[in-house]
C-alpha cells in the first residue's frame, strides 16, 4: 500500500472534521445580531492589541526562517510585522466591525395572489475557505469580513507565515470567544501539508465557497482543482483606450496613473490603446516613457516614438505587474472594443473620451467586471468603491463581480408567510 492514498484519506478526514465543526459554529453565528457580531469583532481587535508582543515574537521566527531559506526581499517585506503594521491589522478589524451588517436585509418583498407574503432575505453563505500566501494580515482581514457577514471561515495560510498566522489566529479566537463566538467559527488549518489544500478544494457540500488570495499560480491551482465554487480573478489585463475625442492632458495624466502609480496591483493598466485619430498620442507615450516605463508597441505605435520596442503576439495577453506596457494603435471605437473583447481578462477596462456617445457604447459593450470612463483603472478597489474593505476582486460571471466585500459573502433565502394556504 503506497503512502499517497493514505495521505489523501487523512487530509480529507481532517478537512471534513474541521468543516463540520465550522458549520456547526456558523449556526451559532447566524443567530447573532448586528450588534453582537460587531462587538465580537471589536473584542477580537482588542485581543490582537493585547497579544501584540506574542505576535511579533512569532513573526520574528518566520522572518528568521525566511531569511535562512533565502526568501526574496519583497517576500520578506510582505511577511514582516512591526508595531505599526500590527496596529493597522487591529484597526482593519475595527473598521470591519463598523461596517453595516448585510444579513437580514429584505432584498425583495411581494404579496402573491394566493395571499402569501414573500420576501427574499439576505443570509450568510455558511463556511468560507480562504487559501492565501505570505501576508499574515490576511488571517485577520479575511476572518473579520467572513464573521461580520455571519460566516464561519477555514483559513489556510502560507508556510512562510505559519508562526505569525497561528499567533494572530489565537488572538482572534480568544477575542471572539470572549464575545460568545464559538472557537470553531474561525479555524486555521493545523497543517501545512499541500494535500490539505487539495482536500479543501474538493470539499463540495462542506465548504460553500473558496477565496484564493495570492499570486497567479495559487489562483490557477485553485481554479483548476476546485469542486467548491471559487471567487477570484486570475489576471488583471486592464486596458485604457484613448478615444479620438479624449482631452489631451487628461489622457496623459490618466494613462500615467493607471500604469505607474503602483505597477504591481491587479488594477494596473497593462495595455494602452491609442485611437488612430487621437492627435496627442505622442504626449501620452512620452509621459510614460519619461516616467521610466518600458513600452512595447505594434508597428503604428512604434512610429510614434523611437523608444517604443516591438511587441510580440504574447504581449497583448500579458499581465506585466511591472513598469512595462503594451501599446496598440486602433482604428476607432469598434476596433478598440474588438481588441478588448479578444484580450481583456474581464477585470477593469477604461475609455478616456469627451464624447458621451462613445463613452456610453464603451460602458455598455465592454463585458468586464468593471468598466470606466475618464478614470484611472487603479481605482478598481473595494475601499475606493465605498465597500469599506474587500475579500477579493472577482472576474467570474456568477454571484459577485468586481470588488467583493460583505454583500458578496452573503446569499438569500425565500421567506414565505401564509395563513393556511393550500395550492389549488
Amino acid at each position: 500500500m503506497s503512502s499517497q492514498p493514505e495521505a489523501r484519506i487523512d487530509s480529507e478526514a481532517l478537512v471534513a472534521g474541521l468543516a463540520r465543526a465550522g458549520r456547526k459554529a456558523q449556526r451559532v453565528l447566524a443567530r447573532m445580531d448586528d450588534a453582537a457580531k460587531a462587538a465580537a469583532l471589536r473584542s477580537a481587535a482588542a485581543a490582537l492589541g493585547r497579544h501584540g508582543g506574542q505576535i511579533l515574537v512569532a513573526n520574528a521566527k518566520d522572518i528568521a526562517a525566511g531569511e535562512a531559506r533565502g526568501l526574496s526581499k519583497a517576500m520578506l517585506d510582505r511577511l514582516r510585522l512591526d508595531g505599526k503594521r500590527l496596529e493597522g491589522i487591529a484597526a482593519a478589524v475595527e473598521a470591519v466591525a463598523a461596517l453595516p451588517d448585510p444579513v437580514g436585509e429584505i432584498i425583495s418583498h411581494t404579496a402573491a395572489p394566493s395571499g402569501l407574503d414573500l420576501s427574499r432575505v439576505r443570509i450568510p453563505i455558511g463556511l468560507i475557505g480562504i487559501i492565501y500566501e505570505s501576508r499574515p494580515n490576511v488571517t485577520a482581514d479575511a476572518a473579520a469580513l467572513c464573521v461580520r457577514a455571519g460566516n464561519a471561515v477555514l483559513l489556510r495560510g502560507g508556510s512562510e507565515a505559519v508562526h505569525s498566522n497561528h499567533a494572530i489566529h489565537a488572538a482572534l479566537a480568544e477575542g471572539l470567544a470572549e464575545a460568545g463566538v464559538p472557537a470553531e467559527a474561525v479555524q486555521l488549518m493545523p497543517t501545512q501539508d499541500r494535500e490539505a489544500v487539495g482536500a479543501m478544494l474538493r470539499a463540495a457540500g462542506l465548504i460553500d465557497m473558496i477565496v484564493p488570495r495570492g499570486g497567479k499560480s495559487l489562483v490557477e491551482r485553485v481554479q483548476n482543482d476546485a469542486r467548491v465554487p471559487v471567487l477570484a480573478h486570475l489576471d488583471g489585463i486592464c486596458h485604457t483606450y484613448i478615444h479620438s475625442a479624449a482631452d489631451r492632458e487628461m489622457a496623459a495624466k490618466i494613462a500615467l496613473n493607471a500604469k505607474m502609480r503602483r505597477t504591481g496591483i491587479c488594477g494596473a493598466m497593462e495595455t494602452l490603446l491609442l485611437d488612430v485619430n487621437f492627435p496627442a498620442g505622442h504626449d501620452v507615450v512620452a509621459a510614460l516613457l519619461d516616467a521610466g516605463c518600458e513600452l512595447r508597441g505594434d508597428a503604428r505605435a512604434q512610429a510614434i516614438d523611437p523608444r517604443i520596442m516591438p511587441a510580440s503576439a504574447n504581449d497583448w495577453d500579458t499581465e506585466y505587474l511591472d513598469a512595462v506596457l503594451s501599446v496598440a494603435v486602433v482604428d476607432g471605437l469598434d476596433a478598440a472594443l474588438e481588441h478588448i473583447a479578444s484580450h481583456s481578462s474581464a477585470h477593469t477596462d477604461a475609455i478616456v473620451t469627451g464624447d458621451v456617445a462613445a463613452a456610453e457604447r464603451f460602458l455598455a459593450e465592454v463585458d468586464s467586471a468593471i468598466v470606466m470612463v475618464n478614470a484611472s483603472t487603479q481605482f478598481a478597489d473595494g475601499g475606493e468603491f465605498g465597500l469599506g474593505a474587500e475579500i477579493g476582486i472577482a472576474t467570474g460571471r456568477l454571484h459577485a463581480r468586481g470588488p467583493v466585500a460583505l454583500e458578496g459573502l452573503t446569499t438569500y433565502k425565500w421567506v414565505v408567510r401564509g395563513s393556511g394556504q393550500t395550492r389549488p
Copy 2:
C-alpha cells in the same frame, strides 16, 4: 489508436465551435433593448404557431419511435404534443415576452469621495447551457427565458424527443431571425452523442452556466462532472413541521395538500414532523392515510395509528415523489430544527403554528432555499412566487436560490463614470 480520445476531441471541438458562435451572437443580443427582445420572442411564438403542423409531424415520429422502444406510458405522455399543448408552448413564449426585462436595472448607485460615480448595472450572463430530457416544451421555454434576459443558449435535449426538438428549434430560430436575433443565439446540439454532454460540462470559460432539467440521475451526472457553474437542485426532501401551537384543521389541510396535491413534484412534502405536544396528530395522520398515502413512521408515530408502517433509517433521506410519506414525532421546535438540519435537501421546509415566536425562529434558523409558515410546500414554484416562469429551482448557496427566473439569468458589472480622476 482507440476511438475514445478521438470521439472526445470531436465533441470538444464541436462544443467549442457552437459556444464561440453562441457567444458572438450573444454580443448582438446584449445590444438589443427591451422592446426588441420582446418583439423577437413574439415573432418566435408566431413562428411556432405557423409551423405547428411540422412540429406535430416530427413529434409523431418521436412517439412512434418511443412506442417501438417500449417507453413507459408516463414517458410517452411527457413526450406527446397535440394542438392544445403546442398552443400552450407558444403562449408560454408570449408570456415570457411580456415579462419585465431585468437587463439595465441599476442595482446600486453611489458617489465615491473621489468624485467617481459608481453603479452596478444588471447585464446578461452570456451563454447558458440547458441539458434536458424528454419534454420538448423545455426547448421553447428555456430558450425564451434565456433570450429575454439577453443570453445566448445551447440546448441539448433528450434523444426520445430529437425530432420534436429540432422542429421546435427550427421554428424558434426562424421567428427570432425575422426579428434580428442571430440564428446562433439559440442553438440545438446537432448530435445525441452522450460525450457531447460531457464536453458541455467541461466547457468552463465558453459556457457560463449550465441548467439541467430532468430527473435525479441527470442532475447528479451534471453536478458531478461539471466544471461550469451549475444551477440546479438534486432532491426535494421537503419537511412540514406541525408545531404544538398549530391550528388542528389547518395542520391537516396543509399536510394533505403538501403531500397529495401532486406527489411527483420537487416541492411535495416527503417528511412530516409532528410535535409531541400537538394534540391532533391523529387527525393529520388519518387525513393522509384516508387519502391513500402510505405512511412510514418512527415508533412514536406508529403508536398514533396502526396503519403506519415502520420507517427505516433511509426513509428520512428519501424523496419518494409518490404517495408515500415518512413521519416522525419530535420533542419540540429544537428537535424539529435538528431533524431538518440533518435531513433537509435545502429545497423547501415549512412550519404550521399559531405561535409567532416559534414561526420566526423556524424561518430564521432553517437554512433552506425556501422556508414557509402556515402554507403548503407545493407553493414552491416560480409562477406562484410571481416570477412569471422559472428556469429551475436552485438549492446551491451562491448566485440564486429557490425558484430562478429572469433575474437569476443575469449578473452585473460596475460602471464607473469619472471626470479625469487619478488615484492618489
